[in-house]
Symmetry: D2
Amino acid sequence: MIIKRGDSVLVMSPDEKTYLVTVDEGKRMGTHLGDLDLGKAIGTEYGSVIETNLLHPFILLEPTLEDRIMKVKRLTQIIYPKDSALMVMKTGLGAGMRVVECGSGSGAMTIALANAVAPTGKVYTYDRSEKFLENARKNVEHSGFSEFVEFKLREVWEGFDEEGVDAVFLDLPSPWDGIPAAYRALRGGGRIASISPTYNQVERCVEFLEREGFVFLETVEVLVRNIRVSTGKTRPMDRMVSHTGFLTFGRKALRRAETGV
Amino acid sequence: MIIKRGDSVLVMSPDEKTYLVTVDEGKRMGTHLGDLDLGKAIGTEYGSVIETNLLHPFILLEPTLEDRIMKVKRLTQIIYPKDSALMVMKTGLGAGMRVVECGSGSGAMTIALANAVAPTGKVYTYDRSEKFLENARKNVEHSGFSEFVEFKLREVWEGFDEEGVDAVFLDLPSPWDGIPAAYRALRGGGRIASISPTYNQVERCVEFLEREGFVFLETVEVLVRNIRVSTGKTRPMDRMVSHTGFLTFGRKALRRAETGV
Amino acid sequence: MIIKRGDSVLVMSPDEKTYLVTVDEGKRMGTHLGDLDLGKAIGTEYGSVIETNLLHPFILLEPTLEDRIMKVKRLTQIIYPKDSALMVMKTGLGAGMRVVECGSGSGAMTIALANAVAPTGKVYTYDRSEKFLENARKNVEHSGFSEFVEFKLREVWEGFDEEGVDAVFLDLPSPWDGIPAAYRALRGGGRIASISPTYNQVERCVEFLEREGFVFLETVEVLVRNIRVSTGKTRPMDRMVSHTGFLTFGRKALRRAETGV
Amino acid sequence: MIIKRGDSVLVMSPDEKTYLVTVDEGKRMGTHLGDLDLGKAIGTEYGSVIETNLLHPFILLEPTLEDRIMKVKRLTQIIYPKDSALMVMKTGLGAGMRVVECGSGSGAMTIALANAVAPTGKVYTYDRSEKFLENARKNVEHSGFSEFVEFKLREVWEGFDEEGVDAVFLDLPSPWDGIPAAYRALRGGGRIASISPTYNQVERCVEFLEREGFVFLETVEVLVRNIRVSTGKTRPMDRMVSHTGFLTFGRKALRRAETGV
């Protein structure tokens, strides 16, 4: 793949620092190892090397989904790739699905969802804060997924506009506030996923999920441990992120009245 | 979504045992809570309930990606959803991508890859064992992803047929055997992911990746801990899977000769 | 050290199965690898080998503190060595200290405490169940620590007889029931440690500790992960104990009225 | 217990910062909350409160074993209490035992060992560096355990002077260098414990232990996860120490020639 003017490129220094930049003719970038002429990237293939004026080689990489998520402008805590990856897997997302997200936060999860349902699905993402929604919209645009996402300014108790969606994702201080609306928006068998940092939220969330008619409930936490691999001295890293949030999953069972069985 | 004859349905008992079955007129299934007439499922919506002859309610759920992965017929150790989810995320898979997998094993990872690149991408999966490849093919067929997968019987050192692919996935006892072929098959900036159970494999794999020209190397392990949520007595589960494999990631940097820069 | 008649010996088979037995003249033990004449152990040094009638070598080892703890007869869930080790460390136990334990359970923690305060300290252990207390007493006797332990049949709300003790250990379904009594029994600056399986218990326990006047509160969980070491194929074990209990620690601050400062 | 002139006291501020200080008449200590007159501590009981000139209350606590270990002056990486606690437990240390340690490092582990074998046992601690040994000696003195420790300046391959010891502790870059000497120093059935940060060290260490005649080998790592307990918002801490070292344990089996059986 050839890099074009206007592309987002992940530039990596020899000491593995990365910068997400938009390349353009004549655009220069200062680094700790000298100045880079980003125009030189245009027309090269990803994986190529360009040098600073001090002759340090920088590699031009295509930003992955994870890079885009980690580089969003953060006005809120974001959902990390370790968590969004499992949320996408356990809700079984795939191309063509229609999903609701509430709240949008900084749009990090929105990007993961949009990637999972593209090119034929849609993410409807709700937030009560105009400021957050606007920032999320810019982050999603910047990541190139805008056409798969619709942004809506709304309080959670006002409900969602959609019906028959495949999955609902909740990232709310009081996730239980969104559970009735999620039930209504989902199709039979549709999946719900909620992320919360505290045990207390999880406990209350599960109570409400059971009461509302969700089944197959499961709560997990994901720990990713980095290994420092080096011949003859390989070991786990000294420090790690030990907690982001608990993930709770469920599926919508239909009530007797609704099934007609 | 309405259940049709021939659909794979995940049937869940009141005590949350699940069975992946194909529904058909007149098909009956014995359970520990009585007999189920699976024909009754046809024409109902997912999320509906049917009862055994002993009046126990069973819920009809749509199998998610994770359900399909966990229910493949296993002739080999499989890659678990916790790992395949992060592998898909960190390699940045999305609709339309072309990826190589080696070896196919029982096809569990193949299903995760096919779901991620559908409906416009393709998975080329290689295995040296005819028996494993045949089983993987059946598992992928059963999961409904056949049109996105091509199966190839091949020893890893014979290389891959594809060029310019977006990502290569290695699940081999000697992953280093596949690294030169992976480098050739990948486009510039393309991603590689390898899974291995031992630290010795990881160490050697990383040595070969560095030597071949892969950059941005990272090795992690994923731990998923289940929480037993119950009002007033919420706690982590007593036992967990503490190890499946180490995941190693990298990206293809072009060599000077290839970049022409 | 020479093995004498009546000693508890940990006998280990070639496949690393262990048996805690009392040796005596003429005493025989059946194993999966033939019969052992335990009388042959008498007069040998620990670390020696005796053979079954089928010539399989069994090694005679001295039971460690951990062996004794793990081999107690269990009428209750026990506190595991990974937890009791940290509880002993963080409360700073040493020879000569006087400590209160409530409840005794099966006496596993009692043994760890007795070992830590021997040869000049004392453990006062309380339980409300005569049956458990009797079993704990036998387990402690069998481990050889009886002289450092006093057993008391008592409901926790009746309080403890001791004053000015160095530490109090609580292993109760409602640890808060023991907190006022613990405060009274402790000397200024004395330590408290409580173990509970659920986060709800921990939360309430910490509330009561704060209210009662304990400071420097800390709650942790201990995870021990086993590594399977084998040249060229070293890896973490597949499965582990992922939860036993949360450990909460605190120290007694004196109230204004008591300090006279 | 009453605080006397010259005692080491752990002074805790209202915001839970701790300082390990020696109290004396007229000694003053500056803090972020004003000046403390440490002389006021003399004659009060541990757990008492003294105030700064700005009337902020500081609590006077007795330093526990953990406090003393964590406050040693560090010229080297130290063995953390989470690890030394399990090492003491799994080697079964108790009053009266004689143990060898190599190397002394900053003496953190030496203090844990001395506490475990006091008041009748002895720790023989070896280090090749005069500077480290001198620092360790001062740290042990400061902690009050000097009478139970003997310091020896020695290269590990020169062996240990002691025979028939109960346990040997190795904290060496090449732990295998100390294994033959450890075997000779230990009594039959005696325990060995080694700590190393890398898998590679562990693998080689286990090879040498097996070859030398140690049995019942076990390698583990200890993870301690802190929980932030707060009514209604209890959760694991965000970050943790994810690796210090792997702990390897074994026991000395006697060779045929030595047992005479």
